[in-house]
């Protein structure tokens, strides 16, 4: 399941959806808005998406991970809009029979998401604002 939404997620609810009768491991990654960046207090974060394309890219990533790793179910939930320090940004949840595959798939999904999915974060400070660029 792929979700791009202004709404927050409940990690517990999402994890319960990817549990199957053959599941032996569930791994989740939650990205959270930091309260401080480069020594400056963050006021808020604006997240923008090219939603239709981001959804397609996330589906491609999910399908790729399902082929590349021995995993069962994947849910990716990415939030957009205005978020504040401590708010959830993204959840990646993966179930598998054994932990190694779920860990590897989760790492792969968040790394690739940061490279290819058309989503942008703007950090707003008390004295200015800045679009985030991932380090290459």
């Amino acid at each position: 399941m792929i979700i791009i939404s202004r709404n927050d997620f409940s990690v517990g609810d999402v994890l319960s959806k990817i549990r199957t009768s053959k599941t032996g491991a569930i791994v989740s990654f939650v990205g959270v808005v930091r309260g401080e960046e480069k020594g400056k207090k963050l006021v808020k974060m604006e997240i923008e998406a090219y939603e239709e394309m981001a959804e397609k890219e996330l589906i491609k990533l999910k399908d790729h991970a399902l082929k590349k790793f021995d995993v069962q179910e994947i849910i990716i939930w990415h939030r957009v809009g205005t978020l504040f320090p401590g708010d959830n940004i993204v959840l990646i949840a993966v179930s598998s029979a054994h932990r190694k595959d779920a860990f590897a798939a989760t790492q792969f999904l968040i790394d690739e998401l940061k490279k290819v999915v058309p989503l942008w974060k703007k950090e707003v400070y008390e004295d200015g604002e800045e679009w985030v660029e991932e380090k290459k």
Partner: protein
Amino acid sequence: MKVKIKFFASYREIVGKHEITMDLKQGTKLSDLIEDLKCRYPRLQGFTDPIVTSVNKKYARDDVILNDGDEIALLPPVSGG
């Protein structure tokens, strides 16, 4: 032919619009359109890396020939997650 061009994040702020429509000659390449946009909006030239683009919601190469009704997007370096 008419195409729709979408701008996101820092590019949207430079252009001041989320979306514009342009009339192009048949056979226009994506690279021609990007050069045209850089002339219209000179601040788009301030980026050292090539501008990443999509056509109809798929990442596109510069040499692709555009068609009537295409939706082009200019995509700044992504930073989700």
